[in-house]
Amino acid sequence: MIVEIDGVPLHLAHPDALSVKWVGQEEVMRQLLAAWLVVDERDIPMNPRLVGKPGVGKTTLAYAAASRLSREIYIMQATVDTRPEDLIVQPVIEGPGQLRYVASPLVTAMLRGGIVILDEGNRMSEKSWASLAPLLDTRRYVESIVAGIKIQAHPLFRLVATMNDDSSTFDLPEYIHSRLQPQILIDFPERDEELSILRENLPFAEDKMLEYVTDFLQQAHNNEERFTVRDGINIGRYAIKLMTTLDARADFTHAVRFSIDKVLGEEALRYARRP
């Protein structure tokens, strides 16, 4: 799709479609939706960031919240190499002496009134964040230096950034920090919620096994390990595969313990119940 801004044709990106479901932890969903709420046409939405350990479901939550608003969703993966032009408009060589301007997923969402999930935003440098500063305050626009245009956000446009709280990150300076508010913390789920998440993701697994994996994860959370429900899903998935190849009479705990060993390492076995 091509739109024209100030006489410059811009090629838009395609929205993303994932098959994910948010289970439990309705409270953080409410907090995210509250950040996006506007009460008047003079009001502007906030730009929340979801913070938590890797694997707790930040992107899933962002996607599920955006789905509830029934809008187009664009996911943009931030990396250390993400430059300002990647975030806004990229020039692509189209032919001899010819350039085509391609809008990033973020700018496409801005133009179409969609929702952009800036995934793992903390991996992006300050320079890239700086190019988004006017978008994150009352101005709600970005400027493309390469295309020489200013792009205003649609009133329905919403943004959320997800960030890991690990050390592989850049620091956000204060002027960006104050624009990316509120900060919504996603913690490890409670036991019931964790079990529901596992059940949702492993619908073909036996309840006994899911309970076992949940107990393992809860034990690890209590000991401040960084294992997450994503690890639990991987453990369960691998254990099920193992059980289909092993003797069907074998106890599932052996398969799960073996799977824990292979997915997280031997050290993690200390949190798993002995058969």
Partner: protein, 609 residues
């Protein structure tokens, strides 16, 4: 109170049925407690009938005597059931207020609920009672009655039991009937025909306990800070701006702000206040409320500021002057969902479950407390001081980060972009090439070599114009990778967070490697030229740095004379404005714990937050 009358006497004329004057209320809400009190003081009825279980009357009477202290009636759901029910007797509850005011005006009391069954659970979605500041009470009630609750046999039986008691009242005595708005229509309908006496239950036992002061915010309908305001207000019934939720909320946040500043040295910025106001408004709106509750206030405080501020908000909201831990009654901490009563475990539920009632936000860590005031101060050793090693690691890492950052700045200053001639140098500069596309030239980047490394690091959080940071010390690294450090901070042992563990905030610090070379910076006469603490640290940094470049992080650059001094010493100051750094990291870094002996290191982690 714009739009609302001083007395609701005229408002409820449509609710008079013979000698009975109905006063429907929203349980637990302060505005209705105030309205009930105004009504009873204005009309002074002979009898006040309240929707409370008749068999709990003695316990309520005992609890009324204890007011303004909170009390809790706990009873098993039935016989030896493992499940229990708790009922909080709190000042800002309209039923409690009705009983209390009735006693004051000498009215008879009548408890309406039958003993046989527990109150049926009805959906509890009321419009925000804060709207009573803008609309009349009967408008609120009529608006609610337009969409009545679905009824079932249980509700009808309960209403019939209450109607039976009302039908037995003396018709010569004006009676005010205080009941829940969601049962009101059912009771009115039941009053249309004669009712049979309800069944009685035999195994009724209950106990009155004193809730621990720390758990009030979790169990009370309105947060204790607000109830304390109400308690003062009800005595005079004067200007009700005192109990305006928004105003009280503002005062609560200001109080939390003051405590936060005292505890952490950090002030709340204006943008944070504005952001919190917007966010709490949105959180409340999603719950169809006009004003955010305590849970949402705490959530917003954490989301916009940090956990420490959220804790201060929660803590301030939980403060209630009258609640005492030591009373003749047994004191129980009802924070959890279960309670041990006479060593018997009971899983609790509230008698009037409220959908929006939430416990403390998850992950908000409790802080350890002294068993008695001064307990930790008694354990101060005073012989030596040392640091807390995990904090040393954090600050060393940050020092490394700042050195790297300084190098990047220096490198970026030395990048040149030029048109391609004979060498591509360090690569093609795409941006410059495209910008000058019309010229048909290719532009390349060239990094110039960086001479010298980065040595000392000075970080100034606060220049200390008010002389707040009076603790000035120099400590030496304990091993080869730990820097020598000179810093100024608040007095750590004025603020104890554990036995022999003091908490202070850095005003500024200097770090320099290799260790074990630094003399006492604060008493070194060579630096007497310095006009302030940051300048003294910078002088020392230039002096002790073995590398050419010295990092200086502060809100303002150093005076220009320091550039000359640095040049004279063959040093260069790399100034990094503090606003360029992550405020979250700086906040973590700013706190320092000073232990009064090496022994404390073993237990320190249990007390630090």
């Amino acid at each position: 109170m714009p739009g609302a009358p001083e007395s609701p006497a005229g408002e409820l004329s449509s609710l008079q049925r013979g000698h009975l004057r109905y006063f429907p209320v929203v349980p637990g809400r302060l505005e209705f407690a105030a309205a009930v009190r105004r009504e009873l003081l204005a009309n002074r009825p002979g009898v006040v009938a309240v929707e409370l279980p008749a068999w709990l009357q003695p316990f309520y009477m005992e609890a009324l005597d204890r007011l303004p202290q909170f009390s809790v009636v706990v009873y098993p759901e039935g016989g030896e059931s493992e499940r229990g029910v708790y009922v909080v007797v709190e000042p800002a509850d309209p039923f409690v207020e009705a009983l209390r005011t009735a006693q004051e005006i000498g009215a008879e009391l009548l408890f309406l609920e039958p003993n046989a069954i527990d109150r049926p659970h009805l959906p509890d979605l009321y419009p925000d009672s804060h709207s009573l500041r803008s609309i009349l009470l009967d408008q609120y009630i009529e608006a609610y009655r337009l969409f009545p609750q679905a009824r079932n046999d249980e509700i009808n039986d309960h209403a019939a039991g209450m109607a039976w008691r009302l039908q037995g009242t003396d018709s010569t005595k004006p009676t005010t009937v205080v009941l829940s708005l969601n049962l009101f229509d059912a009771v009115l309908d039941a009053m249309e025909k004669p009712q049979d006496p309800p069944r009685d239950r035999k195994d009724l036992t209950a106990e009155l306990v004193n809730p621990h002061p720390d758990c009030l915010a979790e169990i009370s309908q309105e947060y204790p800070f607000l109830q304390e305001r109400y308690e003062h207000y009800r005595a005079l019934m004067g200007d009700d701006a005192r109990v305006d939720r928004r105003r009280v909320q503002y005062e609560l946040l200001k109080e939390a702000e003051r405590n936060y500043l005292a505890q952490t040295g950090d002030a709340i910025a204006h943008w944070q206040r504005r952001m919190m106001a917007r966010y709490t408004r949105n959180l409340a709106m999603l719950e169809n409320q006009l004003v955010a509750g305590l849970f949402d206030l705490t959530v917003a405080a954490r989301a916009v500021v940090d956990d420490n501020y959220a804790w201060e908000v929660w803590h301030a909201a939980n403060s209630y002057a009258w609640q005492d831990e030591h009373t003749p009654l047994e004191t129980l901490n009802l924070s959890a969902e279960e309670v041990y009563l006479h060593s018997r475990r009971m899983r609790l539920r509230r008698r009037l479950p409220r959908k929006k009632q939430r416990l403390m936000p998850r992950g908000l860590k409790e802080r350890p407390k002294e068993k008695h005031p001064g307990e930790w101060a008694e354990q101060l050793d005073g012989n030596s001081i040392c640091s807390y090693p995990p904090e040393d690691l954090v600050i060393e890492d940050y020092g490394k980060f700042l050195r790297e950052r300084a190098k990047t700045i220096l490198r970026e200053e030395r990048v040149r972009v030029e048109p391609f001639t004979t060498s591509v140098h360090d690569g093609i500069d795409i941006r410059e090439t495209i910008r000058n596309w019309h010229e048909g030239k290719i532009y390349v980047r060239k990094f110039e070599r960086l001479s010298g490394d980065v040595g000392a690091v000075v970080v100034i959080f606060d220049e200390d114009p008010l002389d707040r940071y009076t603790y000035m010390t120099t400590w030496l690294g304990e091993h080869q990778n730990e820097s020598d450090m000179a810093y100024y901070a608040t007095q750590p042992f004025d603020h104890l967070v554990g036995p022999g563990i003091g908490r202070a905030e850095y005003g500024g610090f200097l770090m320099v490697l290799p260790p074990r070379r630094m003399f006492d910076v604060w008493n070194d006469p060579d630096y007497d030229f310095a006009e302030s603490k940051p300048e003294r640290l910078l002088m020392a940094a230039l002096d002790y740095s073995v590398e050419r470049h010295v990092v200086y992080v502060a809100a303002k650059p150093p005076r220009s004379i320091f550039r000359s001094i640095a040049a004279h010493l063959n040093r260069q100051i790399i100034y990094i404005p503090i606003g360029q750094l992550s405020p979250t990291k700086l906040k973590k870094l700013r706190v320092v714990h000073v232990l009064d002996s090496h022994e404390r290191r073993k237990v320190a982690k249990d007390f630090l937050w």
